[in-house]
């Protein structure tokens, strides 16, 4: 089920590091960003080239990162720190400025450690824990203005409102197109897989935004041509898996490949590194505060504590996605020392159990040593879902008869 535009995107990704190098030689600056609430439109509108710094899957870099940020830091952050220490990643090499947010405290610590050891120019956006309260939003608006001021200093020019409006419109179009594409992967007789869409989403973290939108539009056109009316429904023998939990960045495909290898079909995710950040982003006002509040008002990140289980928007969004994508089970991925998600694993399992959705927690790191153990557990889970759906199908046939 090859989608031709995806090949173009893969090729453009290979060319991107050189392209960034040339852009920098021509005086442009690259801002590497890390986090969940970094308002990328502001970076873009200031004339910087935004790239997301998100690498995973390399336990050698994790080991290097631990020398600087301790072995008790989450695997993802350790790998990022390790990648800065090694300085061989082409995107890290091309980064002039780093923009972090303090959504996750470990992310914030990474900013401090990278600033200290590798002498990087780091700008941090503080994020309130009580994100849903009015006073927290007012505080965050101030922080967004301060974040913009620090970036303006580095850009050598103030933020232009018209350019910000253009960037917001561009990013809105990207988000809208991604959402449309995402529907295709979960459909019956799908011509694009979730894995391909996931790679496509992550390609947008690196490519030029205008070109990316154009490639997304081409992808969507191609999909529409091949599948006129995508209907989200099971194919025979499907085991529809939803991925939740800790992020799965570029370079880390261990769990995804295991699910595929045992016959599971991923049909959706609410990962920080997947579709979730692109959903429900409503920018009501063209200003730094307006953009930042749009980010804060999305489905909150698990690192931001919310004290009422019944009205938790993160859990509601998960349930909404499970229903939308007709998922039959959740694989909840937690990374070593990723507290925002490990603390919530059992709770999420209990919440979903009420609606009959099983959840399997896979706690892992970037070493390969747990591959077979993970595979055994995932295989049993996928098999269980298949048997459950076969039984359900048999029962419905009996009822119909």
């Amino acid at each position: 089920m090859s989608v031709k535009t995806l090949d173009v995107i893969r090729k453009r990704l290979e060319e991107r590091p050189d392209e960034l190098r040339r852009a920098r030689e021509n005086g442009l600056k690259v801002v590497g960003w890390v986090g969940y609430n970094v308002p990328e439109e502001i970076i873009h509108a200031l004339g910087f080239i935004p790239v997301r710094i998100a690498v995973g899957g390399d336990d050698r870099l994790v080991e290097i990162g631990a020398r600087y940020a301790s072995s008790k830091t989450c695997v993802f952050i350790r790998e990022i720190v390790g990648a800065f220490a090694e300085n061989k990643d082409p995107y890290i090499q091309q980064t002039d400025i780093l923009a972090f947010d303090a959504t996750c405290l470990q992310n914030y610590r990474a900013a401090e450690v990278i600033e200290y050891f590798f002498k990087k120019d780091v700008v941090v956006l503080a994020v309130p824990r009580n994100f849903h309260l009015d006073e927290a939003k007012e505080y965050f608006a101030h922080e967004a203005n301060e974040f913009t001021r620090l970036l303006e200093e580095r850009a050598g020019a103030p933020l232009d409102s018209a350019r910000l409006a253009e960037s917001v419109a561009l990013y809105n179009d990207i988000r809208k197109t991604l959402k449309s594409i995402y529907t295709f992967q979960a459909s019956k007789n799908n011509v694009i897989s979730w894995e391909e869409v996931y790679d496509l989403i992550q390609a947008g973290e690196l490519l030029d935004k205008r070109e990316y939108l154009s490639l997304l539009t081409q992808t969507l056109d191609e999909l529409k041509e091949r599948q006129h009316y995508p209907v989200i429904a099971s194919d025979d023998g499907d085991s529809r898996i939803f991925l939740s939990g800790s992020l799965i960045p570029r370079g880390d495909r261990k769990l995804i490949s295991i699910i595929k290898s045992v016959g599971g079909r991923i049909v959706g995710d609410d990962l920080w590194s997947g579709i979730l950040p692109h959903l429900d982003l409503d920018i009501k006002e063209i200003s730094p505060a307006g953009v930042a509040l749009g980010y804060l008002n999305r489905t909150p990140h698990a690192a931001l504590p919310y004290l009422d289980l019944e009205s938790d928007r993160r859990l509601k969004k998960l349930q909404e996605c499970l229903s939308q994508f007709k998922a039959q089970g959740v694989i909840y991925h937690t990374l070593r020392y990723c507290d925002p998600f490990t603390f919530k694993a059992k709770e999420t399992k209990n919440v979903l159990a009420k609606s009959g959705i099983p959840l399997l927690e896979i706690h892992t790191e970037y070493a390969g040593s747990d591959y077979e153990a993970m595979k055994t557990r995932v295989e049993a889970f996928v098999e269980m879902i298949k048997i459950k759906s076969e039984i359900a199908e048999e029962q419905s046939v009996l009822v119909d008869a």
Partner: protein, 461 residues
């Protein structure tokens, strides 16, 4: 064969009886005679584990019999659980808080504020007659329950297991969140899925990154403090005024000043006037929250300063301290090293950043008390950037004339572990003092492996 238990010597009784009463929040007092009776008759029966002579105890548990403060802090520690139960029976409100924060707003709102260590202490004291190993097993068991309900990677569980099991009557979980630790905020959140729905939950949102210089951040934290006081008032049914907060700030400033003066007096001595544990327990009185009773802490603190001044003047050396001990400064999470065994190895702990950072942060008394408290809190040295925190720490190391620095963090304490290396890096670079980073398990007895590293470091010094 029974365990060997420590007993206070009658030879020191007479001098102890000349010391002051302890006065409590409710105006009641306890006399030295009553304290002596408790420590020598009641406590060894109730809490044999506390009197067990055991290498892995973690501290000497006040073995400096000639220092009355040592016995009094011991008394307050051993009666803690019973006092909290009594406070609850009398309708007092109790809040769970974070370690490393001041408790001025809780005092103003007539609420006892207990940090994680104190919540555990309350629970530990509910069962009598255990030896040290039984006590340890009991603690491990309850932690396992909490790890199961939260995460096995939690560095500490903040009393979740005790509160949700209904073992402790805590009314409100309201810590300053992400101050020094992220697990606390996830721990607060975890209560939302527990069976005890009547426990109020609140995040007092402590913002990060250069916040003390930002007026909007100070205002935001001040609003959080107002929300905190309103929440505490909902529990107590009273109305806390700004004047109540100002009075609490003044009271706590008195404690902070006394704590600081006492620490500086201790540092000024040619020979250490107490051992490591007595130094720590006296200085931490400055925050006034350590025994769950502000007035009791203050009365013991006032008297302690007098005793230490006398010892410094007369050149008295603390109990069991070696001649010319190697002076260690401890950084990092809310844990320390085994004081008594480190002293046996020829060292003494002369300071820590934990508990000291906020003790040394006075609050302005003129103007809006919420704003002033918020500003002082955002200025805690421990919570500043790597460079700024390291510079403050270097000042403390110099004042205390430390020979070596240990950055110690709990297993799973991501927030402190992550910056341990840069902090010690700066200290080593700017002072030339040897440092090392040490990881320990918060839940368990102090083991040989841990002590081997400390002893090797002391030997190297």
């Amino acid at each position: 064969m029974g365990k060997q238990l420590f007993r206070y010597s009658e030879a020191n009784k007479e001098k102890f009886l000349e010391s002051d009463n302890i006065t409590f929040n409710d105006g009641s007092t306890v006399s030295p005679e009553e304290i002596w009776h408790y420590l020598t008759e009641e406590a060894p029966v109730k809490y044999p584990s506390a009197f067990e002579v055991n290498l892995y105890q973690g501290n000497r548990g006040s073995r400096d019999e000639t220092l009355p403060t040592s016995l009094k802090t011991r008394y307050l520690g051993l009666t803690f659980s019973a006092r909290m139960e009594k406070a609850k029976d009398n309708g007092k409100s109790i809040a769970f808080i974070q370690g490393g924060q001041a408790v001025d707003p809780y005092t103003a709102a007539d609420t006892i504020a207990l940090r994680p260590g104190l919540v555990n202490q309350w629970n530990n004291g509910l069962e009598y007659g255990n030896d040290i190993n039984k006590e340890n097993l009991r603690r491990k068991k309850s932690k396992e329950k909490a790890f199961h309900d939260m995460s096995f990677e939690a560095c500490q569980t903040g009393g979740y297991e005790h509160v949700q099991a209904g073992d402790l009557r805590i009314d409100v979980i309201a810590p300053y969140t992400v101050l020094r630790c992220s697990d606390i905020s996830y721990g607060v959140e975890a209560h939302r899925h527990g069976p005890k729905k009547n426990v109020k939950l609140l995040n007092v949102d402590y913002p990060l990154r250069y916040q003390a210089d930002k007026p909007w951040a100070i205002e935001y934290f001040a609003q959080n403090l107002r929300r905190l006081v309103n929440t505490l008032d909902e529990v107590t049914g009273r109305k806390t005024s700004e004047d109540d907060l100002l009075k609490a700030i003044k009271l706590h400033n008195t404690g902070r000043r006394l704590g600081t003066e006492l620490a500086e007096l201790w540092w000024s001595a040619d020979v250490p006037p107490t051992n490591s544990d007595d130094r720590a327990s006296m200085v931490s009185l400055g925050n006034l929250e350590v025994h769950g009773d502000v007035q009791a802490s203050l009365s013991v603190l006032k008297e302690a300063k007098k005793f230490i001044a006398e010892r410094v003047k007369n050149g008295v050396k603390g109990h069991a301290v070696a001649d010319n001990p190697k002076r260690l400064f401890i950084l990092g999470s809310c844990v320390g090293i085994n004081g008594s065994r480190s002293e046996d190895a020829g060292a003494i702990v002369v300071g820590r950043d934990d508990q000291w950072s906020h003790c040394s942060s006075l609050v302005e008394e003129e103007g809006d008390p919420y704003y002033n408290l918020a500003k002082a809190t955002l200025e805690y040295p421990y919570e500043q950037s790597i460079e700024k925190r390291a510079q403050w720490t270097i000042e403390q190391i110099k004042k205390s004339r430390a020979d070596g620095v240990i950055f110690i963090h709990n297993w799973g304490c991501n927030t402190q572990a992550a910056i341990s290396r840069p902090i010690v890096d700066i200290i080593k670079r700017e002072t030339g003092i040897p440092t090392y980073i040490h990881e320990r398990d918060l839940h368990g007895l102090r083991d040989e492996q841990e002590q081997n590293r400390v002893n090797a470091f002391v030997e190297m010094l």
